[in-house]
C-alpha cells in the first residue's frame, strides 16, 4: 500500500473522503489531537468551526480592507482639494473653496469602493483564484456532498488508510503533496472503489 501511495501520489499525502460532515470534523479533530499540523481539508460548503479544529488563523483580509478604506478617504480628499482649491477654485453659492463638509459623499463612496475592490482582490490572491478554463477537482463530489481530509503519509501509508477507515472515511485517495495546497491531484489507490462512482 505504501508503495502504491508513493507511486500514485509522489509525495506522500493521503486524503480520506467522507460522506458525513460530522465524521469529517471528528476526523479533523482527531488528526490535530494526534499532533498533525500539516493538514489540508476540502469541503463543499463552509463548515463553521473547522478553522479552529484545523488550527487555522483568522483571515487577514479584514486587516487589508480597513486601511484600504482609509487610503480611499485620504486620496479622494486630496484629489478634490487639488481640483477645487488649487487647480480650479470657483465661488459656488458663497461657500469657501475648501468646503470639506460637501466632500463627505464622494470621499465616503470612494473609500468604500476602494475597500470593496481590495477585499475582492485579497480573496482572489489568498484563494489563488484565476480564470482557468481547465481547472477542475478530480472528484466532482468535493463541490457537492463529500468532504476530504489530507494527511502526510509519514512512511506508513497502510496505517494512515486504516486510520481513515476507523474515522468513517468511505474511501482514500493519494494526493500530490506539493500541490495539496494549490491544485490537488488525486489518484485512486489500487484495490479501492473509484470515488467517481
Amino acid at each position: 500500500m505504501a508503495d502504491a501511495v508513493r507511486t500514485a501520489g509522489g509525495h506522500g499525502y493521503i486524503a480520506g473522503l467522507f460522506a458525513d460532515e460530522g465524521s469529517f470534523v471528528a476526523a479533523c479533530r482527531a488528526a490535530r489531537a494526534a499532533g498533525h499540523t500539516d493538514l489540508q481539508a476540502w469541503t463543499p460548503w463552509p463548515v463553521h468551526g473547522l478553522e479552529e479544529v484545523l488550527g487555522l488563523e483568522r483571515s487577514w483580509i479584514g486587516r487589508a480592507v480597513f486601511p484600504a478604506i482609509l487610503i480611499g478617504f485620504v486620496l479622494c480628499t486630496g484629489f478634490i482639494y487639488q481640483l477645487t482649491v488649487e487647480d480650479w477654485p470657483v465661488v459656488y453659492g458663497g461657500k469657501p473653496f475648501a468646503a470639506w463638509q460637501l466632500w463627505v459623499v464622494p470621499v465616503l463612496e470612494t473609500g468604500l469602493l476602494l475597500g470593496a475592490v481590495v477585499n475582492l482582490l485579497a480573496v482572489f490572491h489568498t484563494c489563488r483564484l484565476v480564470p482557468d478554463p481547465f481547472a477542475t477537482l478530480p472528484d466532482p463530489r468535493l463541490s457537492d456532498d463529500r468532504f476530504a481530509l489530507a494527511l502526510p503519509v509519514g512512511g506508513d501509508a497502510a496505517a494512515v488508510c486504516a486510520w481513515f477507515a476507523a474515522q468513517g472515511a468511505e474511501s482514500t485517495l493519494a494526493v500530490d503533496g506539493e500541490t495539496a495546497l494549490a491544485r490537488p491531484r488525486f489518484a485512486d489507490l489500487p484495490g479501492q472503489e473509484a470515488p467517481h462512482a
Binding site: 460532515e21 460530522g22 489540508q40 481539508a41 476540502w42 469541503t43 463543499p44 460548503w45 463548515v47 463553521h48 473547522l50 478553522e51 484545523l54 483568522r58 483571515s59 483580509i61 479584514g62 480592507v65 478604506i69 484629489f79 481640483l83 477645487t84 487647480d87 480650479w88 459656488y92 461657500k95 468646503a99 466632500w103 459623499v105 464622494p106 463612496e109 470612494t110 468604500l112 469602493l113 475597500g115 470593496a116 475592490v117 477585499n119 475582492l120 485579497a122 480573496v123 482572489f124 489568498t126 484563494c127 483564484l129 484565476v130 480564470p131 482557468d132 478554463p133 481547465f134 481547472a135 477542475t136 477537482l137 466532482p140 463530489r141 463541490s143 457537492d144 456532498d145 491544485r183 490537488p184
Partner: protein, 456 residues
C-alpha cells in the same frame, strides 16, 4: 390524517434541484416570457436610438418639468437596486440564516436594476456622447466637476454602488459556479459548459483555508455595501432636498427615500420569487416562510413610508409656506390627483392586508400586493419629481406634464430589459446559493428545530 412528510433534503438533492435549470432545455413558459421581455427590451433600445437621432424633444419634458419620466424611473430602479443589497447584506450582518433562500435572487435583482437605472441619467444629459464629462478626467478645457454639487455626489454614489454590487454578486457565485462546473455532463455541449464554468469559478477548490478567507471577505462586503447603499440613496434624496422646489425641500427625504426603496424593492423581490419558485420547482428552498418574513418586513417599511407621507403633509401645513402648502394641495386635488390617490391605494391601503397571517401566506394575495406596491412606488416617484416641478414658485411657469409615446415605450422597455436579464440569469446560474443553503439546511437537519428557532 396528516400530510405525508417530505423526505429529508440531502446535499446531492440540493445540488441537483438548484443546477437543474442550467442543464435542461428551457420550458415553453420561460421561452414565452423571455421573448416578451426581450421584445420590450428591444423597444427600449429603439427609444434610445430615436432619442439619439431626434434629440431629447421626443420625450414629454419641457422647460418647467425638465425632470420627467427619466428621472422618476431612474429613482424607481435605484430603489429596486437598494432593496436587493439590503436583503442580502443587512440580513447577513444580523445573522438571519433564512436569507439564504432569497439572497441570490435579490442580489441579481440589484445588479440588473442598477444598470437600467444608470442608463436614465445618461440619457437625461441630452448629449450622451459627452457623458464621460461626468467623470473627473483631465481635459483640454481644464474644467473639473463641481464637487459642491449633489449631482456630482450622485455620480460617485451610483458608480461606487454599482461596482460594489457586481463584485458582491460575483463573489457569492464563485463556489456555485464550481459546483456547476463539476456537474457538467460529458457530452459536446457539456464540455463547452464545463470550460465556461471553470473559467467563471476561477479554479475554486473549496479548501478549509479558502472558505475561511471567502467567508471573511463575503461578510466584509456586507459591511461595505450597507453604508454604501444607504449613502447612495440618501445622496439621491439630498439631490432633491437641497433644491428650493416645493415638495422637494425637506430634510426627511433621505430616510424617506431609503425606506421607500426597501419597500418597493421587496415588492419587486416577491414579484420575482413567487413565479420563480413555481417555475423551477424551488418550493423547498424559497418557502412560504421566506415570503411571509419578506411580507412582514415589507409591511414594516410600508408603515414607515406611510408615516413619512403624513409627515410631509404636516410639515407643509406647519411651515406656513404658501408654495409648500399649494404643492401638497395640488397633489390632493390637482389635475393629476388620480396619480396621488392611486399611490395611496397601492402603497398604503393594499399593504394593510399583510397584517393577517393567512393573507401573508397566500401567494395570490402576495403577488397582488407586490404588483400594487411596485405600481405605487413608481407613482410615488412620479408625484415627487413631476408634480413638484409642475407647481414651483413661479405660477407663470406652471404647466401640465404628459407622457409622449416614447415615454411609454422607454418605460415599458426598461421593465423588459430587467426581466430579460433576470430570465437569462435563471438559466445560467443557480438562483439560490447552493453552498449557503446547504450550510443552512443541512446544519438545521443536524441540530434540529431548536437551532432554526434560535436563528429566526
Amino acid at each position: 390524517m396528516s400530510a405525508p412528510r417530505e423526505p429529508e433534503l440531502t446535499a446531492r438533492q440540493i445540488t441537483d434541484d438548484l443546477t437543474a435549470p442550467i442543464f435542461r432545455l428551457p420550458s415553453l413558459q420561460w421561452v414565452g416570457g423571455f421573448l416578451t421581455a426581450a421584445g420590450l427590451a428591444g423597444l427600449f433600445g429603439l427609444a434610445i436610438l430615436a432619442y439619439c437621432v431626434e434629440g431629447y424633444g421626443i420625450f414629454g419634458v419641457d422647460n418647467t418639468v425638465n425632470w420627467g419620466n427619466d428621472i422618476g424611473s431612474y429613482v424607481f430602479w435605484i430603489g429596486i437596486a437598494v432593496a436587493g443589497t439590503l436583503v442580502s447584506s443587512v440580513l447577513l450582518l444580523f445573522r438571519q440564516r433564512w436569507r439564504t433562500g432569497v439572497n441570490r435572487a435579490t442580489e441579481a435583482m440589484t445588479v440588473f436594476a442598477i444598470n437600467i437605472a444608470g442608463i436614465y441619467p445618461l440619457i437625461h444629459t441630452g448629449r450622451p456622447w459627452v457623458d464621460y464629462w461626468l467623470l473627473p478626467l483631465p481635459n483640454d478645457l481644464s474644467l473639473w466637476e463641481q464637487f459642491k454639487s449633489p449631482i456630482v455626489w450622485d455620480v460617485f454614489a451610483i458608480t461606487g454602488y454599482a461596482t460594489t454590487s457586481v463584485l458582491f454578486f460575483y463573489l457569492g457565485l464563485i463556489p456555485d459556479f464550481a459546483a456547476v462546473r463539476d456537474r457538467c455532463p460529458d457530452n459536446r455541449f457539456g464540455r463547452l459548459q464545463r470550460l465556461l464554468y471553470s473559467a467563471l469559478s476561477l479554479g475554486w477548490k473549496g479548501t478549509a483555508s479558502d472558505w475561511r478567507h471567502y467567508e471573511r471577505a463575503y461578510t466584509q462586503f456586507a459591511w461595505v455595501a450597507t453604508p454604501l447603499v444607504v449613502g447612495m440613496h440618501s445622496t439621491i434624496a439630498t439631490l432633491l432636498a437641497v433644491s428650493l422646489v416645493p415638495g422637494w425641500h425637506a430634510s426627511v427625504f433621505p430616510p424617506y427615500f431609503v425606506s421607500g426603496a426597501i419597500f418597493g424593492g421587496l415588492a419587486m423581490a416577491m414579484l420575482l420569487l413567487i413565479p420563480l419558485r413555481s417555475a423551477f420547482s424551488l418550493e423547498r428552498y424559497i418557502t412560504i416562510d421566506h415570503l411571509d418574513r419578506l411580507a412582514k418586513i415589507m409591511l414594516t417599511v410600508g408603515m414607515i413610508v406611510l408615516y413619512v407621507y403624513v409627515t410631509e403633509f404636516f410639515t407643509a401645513w406647519y411651515s406656513e409656506s404658501a408654495a409648500e402648502q399649494g404643492q401638497y394641495w395640488y397633489r390632493l386635488t390637482g389635475e393629476h390627483k388620480a396619480f396621488f390617490w392611486t399611490m395611496i391605494l397601492c402603497n398604503v391601503v393594499s399593504i394593510q392586508l399583510l397584517w393577517f397571517r393567512s393573507l401573508r401566506r397566500n401567494l395570490g394575495v402576495l403577488l397582488l400586493v407586490a404588483f400594487m406596491v411596485n405600481a405605487g412606488m413608481w407613482l410615488e416617484r412620479y408625484n415627487i419629481v413631476v408634480l413638484s416641478l409642475e407647481r414651483d414658485h413661479l405660477p407663470s411657469k406652471w404647466t401640465a406634464y404628459a407622457f409622449t409615446g416614447w415615454d411609454y415605450i422607454i418605460l415599458s422597455g426598461s421593465f423588459g430589459l430587467f426581466f430579460t436579464q433576470f430570465l437569462l440569469f435563471c438559466r445560467v446560474a443557480p438562483v439560490v446559493s447552493i453552498a449557503e443553503i446547504k450550510a443552512t439546511l443541512l446544519r438545521r437537519g443536524r441540530h434540529g428545530a431548536d437551532q432554526e428557532a434560535s436563528h429566526g
